[in-house]
């Protein structure tokens, strides 16, 4: 591993896989604490972090299990560092407990889930997109969460940086969700100098006063974070808490807490929402696709256009919260929605929720551990076009 990539001083083009790009993006974003547990197909992230972090006074620790990894990053985040962990399906299941703590106590953290086939141990070395719903609803109770689905190696690098910015700014766990195929795909990435990157850090509480309340938030709904040692001596808990940080069961305070917690992403929608639209202006067949599958969809749409079919693509980059408004703005003219996914049909349920009555929605699903090909999508686009 003694490659020039180890030097972080100058921007340059490197040919690396998605997992390495994720690690390098995290370092660039200011991540200085990584705790993890080995699991295929995400282990390269931990390996790269174990190499890079010690060079920059960061901390890498391999914990005893996935649960402990998640706990350790939250402890480090509460101590003031930017933190990350990475895993895959079975490990992601184990993260859910402390992920809920991060959402409820509003502890910034980035969690990478390199998806493999499930359920259970499933297909450790094969790609899938089966954790879309788990990423949204894996931990119990109503909670805010951001899930980002990059589709290429350069995008993993960029979106990892963005994941940190969002998590730090909004005090919400951010999940980077991509699959084994992009995780192990090699592409060219331009590594950036830290000066070139726009970094956002959490707001630290600075003014100590008798009235200070660690979970009181202003109009932006984001409370300032308290750094231990700064003299505030506050309480942090996973129990439902009042603005003073202590547990409460008062229905008014519980409701206010829940409303603020669940409302903060909507309030900052301009930061959170991200998507890409291709050839949607006059599209009659719209392919809605994310992650690795969107690459096949992009190709299929181009080929369809070459044959005179009015096809387009809508790609959520931030998949949760789902970019419903931008999708609704497009589907007015659309007759058919095609939703290819490497699962039995998950995000299609969201599309169903937002489709106008005149729109038909169809899934194109693969659950055999293989990626969806452009030809598969093109064939379905042609079928839909010929049925008109």
């Amino acid at each position: 591993m003694a490659t020039p990539m180890s030097k972080l001083s100058e921007p340059r083009l490197v040919n690396i896989d998605g997992n390495h790009a994720c690690a390098m993006g995290a370092i660039a974003a200011g991540c200085r604490f990584y705790a993890g547990y080995p699991i295929t197909p995400s282990s390269e992230i931990a390996e790269r972090m174990s190499l890079e972090l010690p060079k920059i006074d960061g901390i890498f620790i391999q914990m005893e299990d996935e649960i402990a990894s998640m706990g350790a990053i939250l402890g480090a985040s509460m101590g003031g560092l930017k933190v990350m962990t990475a895993t895959s399906g079975p490990g992601f299941s184990l993260k859910q407990e402390n992920l809920g703590y991060a959402a409820g106590a509003e502890i910034p953290c980035v969690i990478v889930n390199v998806m493999r086939g499930g359920p259970s141990t499933g297909l450790p070395t094969r790609p899938a997109q089966g954790d879309i719903m788990q990423a949204r609803w894996g931990t119990h109770g109503d909670h805010p969460i951001i899930v980002i689905t990059p589709a290429s190696v350069p995008e993993i690098y960029e979106q990892t940086i963005r994941a940190f910015n969002l998590s730090e700014t909004l005090r919400v766990p951010v999940i980077l969700l991509y699959d084994e195929a992009i995780g192990h795909l090699r592409e060219t990435v331009e590594l950036k100098e830290s000066a070139e990157i726009e970094l956002h850090n959490r707001k630290w509480a600075a003014e100590i006063s008798a009235e200070f309340q660690p979970y009181a938030a202003g109009e932006d709904k984001i409370p300032e974070m308290v750094r231990p040692g700064d003299g505030f001596r506050t309480h942090t808990t996973g129990l439902t808490h009042a603005p003073d940080g202590f547990p409460t069961q008062d229905p008014t305070l519980v409701n206010e807490y829940m409303q603020r917690l669940l409302g903060k992403l909507q309030h900052h929608n301009a930061l959170v929402e991200s998507f890409e639209s291709i050839s949607t202006e006059d599209a009659e067949i719209l392919v809605v696709s994310y992650g690795i599958t969107s690459r096949a969809a992009r190709r299929a749409v181009k080929l369809a256009r070459n044959e005179g079919i009015k096809a387009g693509m809508f790609r959520p980059i931030t998949v949760w919260p789902f970019p419903a408004e931008p999708l609704k703005a497009i589907v007015g003219s659309v007759k058919n929605l095609l939703v290819p996914e490497m699962n039995a049909g998950q995000i299609i349920q969201e599309i169903e929720r937002y489709r106008p009555a005149h729109c038909r929605v169809e899934g194109l699903n693969r659950i055999d551990g293989e990626t969806i090909t452009p030809e598969q999508i093109l064939d379905r686009i042609k079928e839909l076009a010929s049925n008109e």
């Binding site: 402990a68 990894s69 706990g71 350790a72 939250l74 309480h235």
Partner: protein, 280 residues
């Protein structure tokens, strides 16, 4: 030296606006907390530098009453959170407050690896032999034949010796004390806090309302006196009085070693890596 004679005033360390506290009458947890704060007071650790991490259960609720940086985390995971916090912030005195269920059952894996790593954290485990907060279910440390709500005919599972476990897993410091011996408990905790490495202190607490009532063990005074007669302080280690003592549950300092502290080892690892790179 007795508590009464010292300059220590527990109220200096408590968030009294949260009173009345939630502990049941007769519960030993408050005495354990008193001993811990007393040890901290004698060591003159500034409150701003104190970070308490606790889990779920009666033990987990203690942290909220301490006027310091307090983190009440998930069930069984305080040692995992504390590991991250201590590595991120070596300037903080990180103390874990946990219970027999939190630490030995759901958190058992974290305990053995915290002992193995030997990061400079002090862990106070309150052992009251029962899951008190959930209504009195059997725990890994429930004594043989004791009645709980999930052992209606008496406990038939073997009882965990937490100190033996911690010692075997490599903890830098291991101690045990009963709440009745509060000054001695304070001293063991103090030694644990001073020790550079992972310090595990088991406090034999008593759950009067749930466990005591169910097993007709009498009031709190009776329970702690029974406890006292059943332990064997380490000062008797070399004396031949075994025939006269009904039980051999050791108290005092159980183990101490000078294995490398984790954070120090990590810093050394970083330096070695950098030197390797510079030379290469």
């Amino acid at each position: 030296m007795s508590d009464v004679d010292s300059q220590f005033n527990i109220r200096d360390y408590l968030r009294e606006h949260l009173f009345p506290h939630f502990l049941c009458p007769g519960c030993g947890h408050g005495i354990a907390l008193r001993a811990l704060l007393w040890a901290i007071d004698e060591l003159k650790i500034p409150k701003d530098k104190l970070a308490f991490v606790s889990g779920i259960g009666c033990s987990g609720r203690l942290g909220a009453y301490i006027d310091a940086n307090t983190f009440h985390v998930t069930h069984g995971r305080p040692l995992a959170y504390a590991t991250g916090l201590k590595l991120a912030r070596p300037d903080l005195e990180v103390i874990v407050i946990t219970g027999d269920g939190d630490c030995l059952a759901i958190g058992g894996n974290h305990l053995i690896h915290a002992c193995r790593r030997n990061l400079n954290i002090t862990c106070m485990m309150l052992n009251n032999e029962v899951y008190g907060m959930t209504g009195g279910q059997v725990s890994p440390t429930t004594s043989n034949d004791r009645f709980t709500t999930t052992t209606p005919n008496g406990n038939y599972e073997p009882t965990f010796d937490a100190c033996a476990l911690a010692q075997a897993a490599g903890a830098g410091f291991v101690g045990r004390e009963i709440t009745l011996q509060t000054p001695a408990l304070k001293n063991v905790l103090k030694e644990g806090l001073v020790h550079s490495g992972f310090s595990f202190v088991e406090v034999m607490s008593d759950c009067t309302e749930v466990f005591g009532r169910k097993n007709e063990l009498g009031d709190s005074a009776e329970m702690v006196l029974t406890q006292k007669s059943s332990v064997r302080p380490d000062v008797y280690d070399n004396q031949v009085d075994q025939p006269f003592r009904p039980n051999f549950l050791k108290t005092g300092v159980m183990a101490r070693n000078n294995r490398p502290e984790y954070a120090a080892a990590y810093r050394q690892h970083i330096l070695t890596m950098r030197e390797g790179k510079n030379n290469g």
